[in-house]
Symmetry: C2
Subunit: 257 residues, 2 copies
């Protein structure tokens, strides 16, 4: 029996809790831990572990990659919250990192999260995991740039960068962690793309913006259902037990938070 | 004949000029390039290439690692200059990145430099280069934290982190790029530590702070000469043509800028 999403989430939380930050971070480690604890549903690392297990590896083998994804996601939130960007004083009902530790330490906390993420991603024998994480991070930063400067050519491009890149990497990193050769990654990667799109559309439905503005609530709902359908179809192409990933797709499609 | 420091610097400049930034950075690439061009003497990448060549590799083999070091160094300058940290509006006589592009894009420029650095460091077949770069970056960030919070136990610790880590990595990354087994890296690494110390003391002599405050000008000069002497002694332990590295040590010891 593969691990359920909740079991995978517990594995991820344990791994994050037990993460030994690089000792030379000194006191900077406190704000890094704070940022990680404030964090959220661990969607990306759970997907990463679930894909790795479906692809034939132990989910534990994907934990360094999974945690690295969560650190990059957290890095992006910590820097997004800064006064010069979104100027958010709260994150999930708690003071945002810069509000809690001051702006200078807030900036450094994001930097440290990013560097720790790469340290984790380099735990593997090959650089594939770290390489794809770097590419996804660059795409995410490019999306952030388009957002803060208001220069995105269209909303799809913006979301594919800001959200899609790291979602796609949640699948991609798992494939490398599970030693799936590049030539056999196609359906998996197409699944990752649909999953990112699904997550984004449902996000917009919950927030009443983005796809809801451009397509109306019913239109956005339909697009989400179509993306979920395509994600399930991609899973069906894979010769593996993808029941847990189907469960994750179903959960993302109907999530309310 | 090994390449001279000036020839190595030209190789590094060419590599940085020709660097193909990740396309998904979109417009964010402009501030990344700006930050790199404003940059400086390329001390770290030149050391990296010189060590690689002395260790038996083509200096070109070290260029991705060397450029990654320069990008991490530049990342640290771009974030240090931010209003919340040193609040510097100028860098080498030009507007600092945040002053030129605004604070939000300045923060993202540092982020992008760091992520690009790791993408470059992952160009190798093993993750050793990227792994050591991540560790050095974390040490540097830890030093930055001690500096902005005024919590450094002593000046040596502060400098070893803020300056020494990336200098040591300039040697360490070159050793991995040149495929020198870990067991044969000892003297090289001890050389890197002395080089970082030498650079820092001379920096303080030029700025009239740090070691000059604690040891007086003559005392600091003597400490610099001793570090240079130990660096040369470490080079003498290595069975290789280290003439270019000796030249670099001599140059760092008497530099005036």
């Amino acid at each position: 029996m593969p691990h359920s999403p909740d079991e995978l989430r517990a594995l991820v939380e344990d791994h994050l809790d037990g993460l030994e930050l690089w000792p030379q971070l000194h006191g900077q480690a406190e704000s890094v831990r704070y940022s990680l604890v404030v964090g959220g549903k661990r969607v990306r690392p759970v997907i990463c572990c679930a894909v790795a297990e479906a692809a034939g590896a132990a989910p534990q083998a994907a934990l360094p990659a999974a945690s690295a994804l969560e650190l990059v996601h957290t890095f992006s939130l910590v820097h997004d919250d800064l006064p010069a960007l979104d100027d958010d004083e709260e994150r999930r009902g708690q003071p945002s990192t810069w509000k809690q530790f001051g702006e200078a330490v807030g900036i450094l906390a994001g930097d440290a999260l990013l560097a720790e993420a790469f340290r984790l991603a380099c735990a593997y024998e090959t650089p594939h995991v770290a390489r794809e994480l770097a590419q996804a991070t660059l795409g995410m930063i490019g999306g952030q740039y388009l957002d803060v400067t208001g220069t995105a050519p269209d909303e799809q491009t913006l979301h594919r960068l800001k959200t899609g890149c790291l979602f796609a990497a949640s699948v991609g990193l798992a494939l490398w962690a599970a030693d799936i050769p590049e030539g056999e990654q196609g359906s998996w990667r197409a699944f990752g793309d649909e999953l990112g799109l699904l997550f984004q559309i449902v996000d917009d439905i919950l927030d009443g913006d983005g796809y809801v503005v451009t397509h109306g609530l019913d239109g956005a709902r339909r697009l989400a259902d179509e993306a979920a359908g395509r994600a399930r179809a991609r899973l069906a192409e894979v010769d593996a037990d993808t029941s847990v990933l189907r469960e994750i797709v179903d959960g993302l499609a109907v999530r309310t938070a």
